[in-house]
Subunit: 146 residues, 2 copies
DNA sequence: TATTGTTATACTCTATAACTATA
DNA sequence: TATAGTTATAGAGTATAACAATA
């Protein structure tokens, strides 16, 4: 049918690829493999290397209370994966950034998470090239990952 | 720049679309809107309408302990969204299935979750048609959603 | 004996409210 | 007076171990 139906079906397929067992299982398995909890794994992925983020912003991004961010960042600091520093412009604000160890862990996680699931790998070379081109356009303006 | 690189880049884009703030925010917002917790929302989505699943299988699918499944299914039953019945072939096994109210909720959730994010909606009609065709092939053999 | 699911229990995660410090 | 982050505390979520029912 039309544009709307195509968009909906395409997004439906993406959702199924992502929430399918093969992909969803990666997160708990990787967390165990790298010795972190699932929530720390997600936190590390959401911290951009080389940039400090206000804790308040993380609370909004994660849809959780600020006190929870305090606990998560405490855990990251205890493991040497991140550190806080007061913002130079507003000393109430604390900026959270990954340490070198945090960046190393993040790189390893991203490398593993970007391994395509079987449904993608089953496509032809032509299909993959086209898929890549179209999706590259779709994620213009989205946050980078790797 | 071969097949592998195209597959990896395509999957990277899918990951970014899915874990981006716009899409991830939908789950807590929908849970609040429909008066359930996020874990009950995921449970309802993972229960196929018209089919009963063994609790043991749900524990494996969700990467959690069986005692946890007991608690989740208790919550679903308390809200009238699912019910248990002993398996006809093995009375140790209990099959969990959605009630009519559960199916109704699931349909509403799926309808909302299948609304494409802005990155997808920004593509042209031609691109969307092509994307749909390729992704339909990628999810052959995956569990249906809607 | 082995397996499915439940219960009792402790540990982790999360939110609420009161607090400190900065603005 | 308002905002960022912390702390104390209670409630929800999760795992471990012991248990009952069934195979």
């Amino acid at each position: 049918m039309g544009r709307e139906a195509d968009a909906r079906e395409a997004w439906s397929a993406i959702t199924r690829l992502f929430i399918g067992r093969e992909n969803q299982g990666r997160f708990p398995l990787l967390a165990e493999e790298f010795g972190v909890t699932v929530r720390l794994l997600h936190a590390v992925l959401d911290l951009p290397p080389g940039e400090g983020l206000p804790m308040r912003q993380l609370a909004q991004q994660w849809y959780c209370d600020a006190s929870n961010v305090t606990a998560i960042v405490d855990s990251l600091e205890d493991r040497g994966l991140a550190h806080r520093e007061p913002s130079p412009v507003d000393r109430r604000v604390k900026l959270v950034s990954l340490t070198d160890a945090g960046v190393t862990l993040r790189n390893a996680l991203v490398d593993r998470l970007l391994t395509p699931p079987s449904g993608i790998m089953g496509l032809s070379a032509d299909e993959l090239r086209t898929l890549r081109q179209i999706l590259a356009k779709a994620v213009e303006g989205y946050e980078p990952l790797g």
